[in-house]
């Protein structure tokens, strides 16, 4: 199974323990041990707060606080935590490169790409002339396939797309020809179609330079396709590690089993035509909306189209997924449906309910970041009461029983009512927001990326919650997402947007029949984890040695 069992390890972490110092140290990472051999592709997987980022930052001693450190980290033959300041600087220059989650934040916004490349190159070639360094910088950009590298030297990070910035970041990390590349969620901030390109680039770097990669991610799809070895972290501990095939094929720990089960993509074959016969809940007809940066741009008609002749419909009791990359106009569509943004032309109609007792359907919205849409200083219960009070519920007892019922509907315990939002987990917070939207018995929910801030396992819970609500209350849901896995899991109808245009409007069962628009096809192909679900995936044999927890 593992011919390189005796290969030399590039990175060895022994019984790593990190605690937030103080009178009562708070343990963040405990008893973590793993090894990565030269050329390996090691993935550290876990939810947010599992300690994976702290682990990888501690490998370069980049923690933002003074920790209590236990154990040993040896990278490229150097015991990282016993290096002097000067040695540490040399170690960071030569042994390890790091790529961060948000490339725009990781590059200095007030300095040009070129100046940041030159500054780093200067470390390796202290006596080189300026034009020599410039040539090297251009070569570095060419190495990561950035078109027109000469021009890019003069511009600022905000003038490049996220994908190109991440390429610049990779180029910067690779300048010192490090033995190990640590990539901390390198694609989380990027669009789906760009994610694959960046991951391909990291693969290419690994092949060309005999590089060892440590990828930290919460996205199991990425891991399955590319990593040679996987370690799963949960609550600061490694719960499982081994070769990709072993871990994905037969996860041993309960937690990883649950994690992988939640991330499994199943090609949907639901029968949804009956729902299409139901009366309309919401319809867009030829809706146009263009945003202009300034009044001058408006006159010159140079704007960003967020909706171009957009037409689609949501029927009652139907779950419609609005899919697209950032900038495709999906959030604008949601805001127009809520009446928060006025369209330039076209009609958006909220239809009357079947019984006809109301002239319009009641619509509620669930926002992307649950914590931001809750008042941090107010108890959850009070926030829910507030909504009802505003809408004329005078009787406190009636309010209380109604809230208890809804809280139960979304699968939460009554104890959350007594808490403030800061003491809720991400999943609980999102369900509280959904509960708040349900209080007024809406006929339709608009959910804008409701799952992007929560982890795979909790995503499953929330999707189940949506499913139940639809079945029990017959609510129509317009679900805005960039994640096709969510679509396959729950949607009845899929609307794909690009640059404000509807380029696909099909039942989910037809979505993967291979006859779709090339853009849709590209999105499907770019979906991480797709390969694994289509055919048994053969992971690479080179790489890490599983040490089974302790050394």
């Amino acid at each position: 199974m593992n011919p390189d069992r005796f290969a030399e390890p590039v990175c060895r972490v022994e019984n790593l323990g990190i605690a937030l110092g103080g009178d009562h140290p708070i343990p963040l990472v405990e008893d973590v041990s793993f090894e990565i051999t030269r050329g390996g592709y090691f993935a550290l997987v876990g939810e947010s707060g599992s300690g994976k980022s702290i682990t990888c930052h501690s490998m370069m001693r980049l923690l933002p606080f003074k920790p209590e450190f236990r154990g040993r980290i040896v990278i490229d033959g150097q015991d990282v935590w016993s290096l002097t300041a000067r040695q540490l600087m040399q170690f960071r220059r030569k042994s390890v490169g790091m790529v961060f989650q948000d490339p725009l934040a990781a590059l200095n916004p007030v300095r040009t790409i070129g100046s940041q490349l030159l500054e780093t190159l200067r470390l390796y070639y202290p006596s080189a002339r300026h034009d020599e360094l410039r040539t090297r910088a251009i070569e570095a950009l060419k190495g990561v396939h950035i078109p027109m590298p000469e021009q890019r030297l003069e511009i600022y990070p905000h003038q490049l797309s996220g994908g190109l910035n991440q390429r610049v970041m990779i180029a910067l990390a690779m300048l010192g020809e490090p033995a190990l590349l640590i990539a901390d969620e390198p694609t989380t901030a990027l669009d789906m179609s760009v994610q694959a390109e960046v991951l391909d680039l990291i693969d290419e770097m690994r092949r060309q330079n005999n590089l060892t990669v440590l990828l930290v991610t919460h996205d199991l799809g990425i891991v399955r396709d590319r990593a040679t070895h996987i370690a799963v972290m949960h609550k600061g501990r490694l719960v499982e590690q081994g070769s990709t095939a072993a871990v994905v094929g037969a996860p041993k720990a309960d937690y990883s089993r649950e994690l992988f089960a939640a991330a499994n993509v199943e090609w949907p074959a639901r029968e949804t035509s009956a729902l299409r016969q139901k009366p309309f809940a919401l319809s867009f007809e030829n809706v146009n909306k263009t945003f202009y940066a300034s009044s001058r741009d408006r006159k010159a008609d140079i704007g960003v189209p967020a909706a171009k002749a957009m037409s689609f419909a949501v029927h009652q009791g139907e779950i419609v997924a609005l899919v697209g990359e950032s900038g495709s106009g999906k959030t604008t569509a949601a805001k127009m449906a809520m009446g928060l943004v006025t369209p330039d032309s076209g009609t958006i109609k909220l239809h009357a309910s079947a019984g006809g007792e109301k002239s319009k359907l009641n619509v509620q919205m669930v926002f992307q970041h649950p914590r931001d849409s809750l008042d941090p200083l107010m108890k959850v219960g009070d926030q829910l009461h507030e909504v009802l009070k505003v809408h004329g519920w005078r009787d406190a007892e009636a309010r209380r029983s109604h809230i208890a019922q809804i809280i139960q509907d979304v699968g939460l315990g009554a104890h959350v009512l007594e808490r403030r939002p800061t003491f809720l987990s991400g999943g609980e917070a999102q369900r509280v927001v959904i509960a708040r939207a349900l209080l007024l018995k809406p006929d339709m929910l608009i959910a804008d990326e409701p799952l992007s801030a929560v982890d795979v396992r909790i995503q499953k819970h929330i999707l189940d919650c949506f499913q139940r609500l639809r079945e029990r209350l017959g609510i129509a849901i317009l679900l805005i997402t960039h994640d096709l896995r969510v679509v396959f899991e729950i949607a009845d109808q899929v609307v794909v947007l690009r640059h404000g245009e509807v380029i696909e409007d099909v039942p989910v069962s037809l979505f993967t029949d291979g006859k779709r628009h090339e853009y849709t096809q590209m999105l499907i192909d770019a979906m991480p984890g797709k390969a694994a679900s289509e055919q048994a995936h053969d992971p690479g044999h080179e790489g890490a040695v599983a040490t089974g927890g302790r050394i």
């Binding site: 980049l62 960071r92 490169g97 790091m98 961060f100 934040a105 200095n108 910067l172 010192g176 940066a293």
Partner: protein, 307 residues
């Protein structure tokens, strides 16, 4: 393009200020009755005065006369000294500019390094000491520090003159009084700006590339920390003119600040009007410079305006 639109905006601001001064002075009552006591002045004299200063006709006519006077540089006569009000103010201006300029220099030279050291030692002993001193510094009224300095340096040590204008020795104490008081506030802004910049991912990323701490500080922390400071500095410098009115009185400094106090006491409206417009003009001009500096320092805003 940016420059032209900003200049236009500055002109509009200036016009608004000129109009507000007109409204304020007319709204507080008949300006003639504010100068003369009607009981011991003849009606004929009052009418003659009205005629002379354009206080006749409808309010619109008066406004037009006033605006045309202002744009011709005619601001009226100071009734304290019976000289042209503009001249009275202008002769005080150099003293004030000297005071404010030197104080601003002290504020920046003290505030920048002290604030940066506090940020680098976040939560440490040095940081706590600096922050306590800063709290004392801005809680203390301006004149208290001035009086303490006089007591120490003039009365007890007899090093510096307590009063007067003209030499470097005279300048030291008022400049320290204003400069240190503002430095106490500025230090806090510097500290939080540097702390924010230190937490940026790009600083972590620079560290991960193995840049030296010194280089990280000079090339990554400072450029980012400067942005909020550029916005706040002119506001603090502007508030020095206000602080000057007290401090100039304490040290007998013949600047605009003291002139404000005197002309309010004497109801010298012509002089007040000139001072208000001049301060407004100075503030608008500094804001213009700051906007332009900001566009240079932060490429993101420069782009937003040039497209």
């Amino acid at each position: 393009m940016l420059l032209i639109s900003r200049l236009l905006r500055a002109v509009v601001s200036l016009w608004v200020i000129v109009t507000l001064v007109f409204v304020a002075l007319r709204a507080t009552g008949d300006p003639i009755l504010a100068i003369f006591n009607p009981d011991d002045t003849t009606q004929a004299a009052l009418d003659a005065y009205r005629e002379q200063w354009g206080y006749t006709g409808t309010i619109l006519q008066q406004y037009l006369t006033y605006v045309s006077n202002v744009f011709h540089g005619t601001f009226g006569i100071s009734n304290m000294s019976n000289r042209d009000a503009l001249e009275v103010v202008l002769e005080r201006l150099p003293a004030t500019l000297q005071l404010v300029g030197c104080s601003a220099l002290v504020m920046i030279l003290v505030g920048l390094p002290v604030g940066a050291f506090a940020a680098l030692d976040n939560g440490g002993r040095l940081d706590r000491t600096i922050m306590s001193l800063s709290t004392v510094g801005f809680a203390l009224p301006n004149f208290v520090l001035g009086l303490a300095l006089i007591l120490l340096l003039s009365v007890n040590l007899r090093i510096l003159p307590s009063n007067g204008y003209g030499s470097i020795q005279n300048l030291i104490m008022p400049v320290l009084t204003i400069g240190l008081a503002k430095a106490a506030i500025f230090t806090r802004f510097v500290r939080s700006a540097v702390l924010d910049a230190l937490r940026l991912t790009c600083v972590t990323s620079a560290r991960a590339r193995g840049l030296s701490e010194f280089r990280i500080f000079t090339h990554h922390v400072i450029p980012n920390a400067l942005l909020p400071l550029v916005t706040i500095t002119p506001l603090l410098v502007g508030s020095m003119i206000a602080a000057g009115s007290v401090v100039e009185s304490v040290f007998g400094w013949p600047g605009v600040g003291r002139l404000i106090v005197d002309s309010v006491a004497q109801r010298d409206l012509a002089v007040l009007q000139v001072i208000i417009m001049m301060v407004a003009f100075l503030m608008i001009a500094t804001n213009l410079i700051v906007d332009l500096a900001y566009a240079k320092l932060d490429p993101r805003t420069a782009l937003a305006h040039s497209h």
